[in-house]
Amino acid sequence: MLKGRDLVALADLSKEEILYLLDTAESMKEVLTRDIKKVPTLRGKTVVNLFFEPSTRTRTSFEMAGKRLSADVVNFSAATSSLTKGETLKDTARNIEAMGVDAVVVRHKASGAARYLSRVLEAPVVNAGDGTHEHPTQGLLDLFTIREVKGKIDGLRVAIVGDITHSRVARSDIHGLLKLGAQVVAVGPPTMMPPGIESMGVSVAPSVDKVLEEVDVVIMLRIQLERQSSPLFPSIREYSKYFGLNIDKLRKRIDSDLLIMHPGPVNWGVELSPEVSDYPGNVILDQVTNGVAVRMAVLYALIAG
């Protein structure tokens, strides 16, 4: 059971609420393995994908999740919208809500946009990524993927590598992992490390090499070149050297069960070298599969009943 009406941030959820969503997602995943990958649960309900930022996988994933549960899914994209005529976020969202929707999935470049909408809308709001704040369904699918392979999260050591400051994925992952009892180490250049991150209960390391032998899971973040107004590291080559993963670095862990994760889209050759895609612990595509199951669980929890 979720106590709130919306899913804005994993920071808002209790451990029990997170586990409830992960358990529900397990049952949803079974539906995805059937020949007929559809159940009638949300028949007659409507979900709107309100995306003010480009996205392929998250939008498609939410669309699939809604459709697998028999909801009608309507996609809204900013490029073709009245936003270009100067309509505000609030007006856009309220107008769409007035057409009769049962949930609004929102992605926006402004941190706090999802929280704001959750206050002005009656319908449940699901945050699909707001600025550098949170991306809670990505956090949940990361937790789900780790638990699925490792059988637990409590006591695991997880490294998150990259631009921690600008990453909403990192923020959701950190909240989720800590609540479920994992230890988190953040790895990245000082320019990409939020000040005071240790106060969240996260330790910090200066390079991937330093942590690779001690962790169970590595979550690589995408270097978001589009979000940096001025470069935060000297060169891509230097970034890859300290914060990228390649097979040479992984050689000492090749027989172990280290998981390599990435929220996508991967900059191959920057944070991950291409041959890492064949590494046995690479679960990047499993994350994508699990994303649909997790989003089904979220839509079920917020809309059904």
Binding site: M1, R34, T41, A304
Partner: protein
Amino acid sequence: METPKHFRLKKVLLDGDSMERTLNRMVHEILERSKGGKGLALVGVRRRGDVLARRMVEMIAKVLGKKVPMGVLDITLYRDDLSLLTQHPKVGRTDIPFPLEGKRLVLVDDVIFTGRTTRAALDAVMDLGRPQNVQLAVLVDRGHRELPIQPDYVGKVVPTSLNENVLVFLKEMDGEDQVVLVEKEDAEG
């Protein structure tokens, strides 16, 4: 094993021994009608029908010398009353590890009441495959059907009022086998 709040125990309908005998009789009826068990498969409806189905598979194995396929069905995603409930029921896992095509399927549930669970179970089964036929076995039929659905195999028919409830306790989950009739405490003033 406790009577829930606001209910009081009215009658013990089945104890451990009588439950065992009842299930045994149902198993023999199923085998009689399935002519030796060819194509027979059992699917239990969570969260007690699956336990009963597992027991019945063991009983069938004693007669036939082999285990018939058995699966577990969770019908939460097929319920028609989700919008009427204030709390979301937890979605359990469906696990049917054999193809349904051509099977003579027996759905197993603990209690049949309105018939709506069975309706949901039938829809769920049809989405999973096309069995040759589907029959229904229930431990207790308490009446009050709201849909034209009747069980093929019944352990015990118990006329009840709407103030009453039938509770099935199973040793795998509750530590003891027992079926009881309970009544709402405020029912008689």
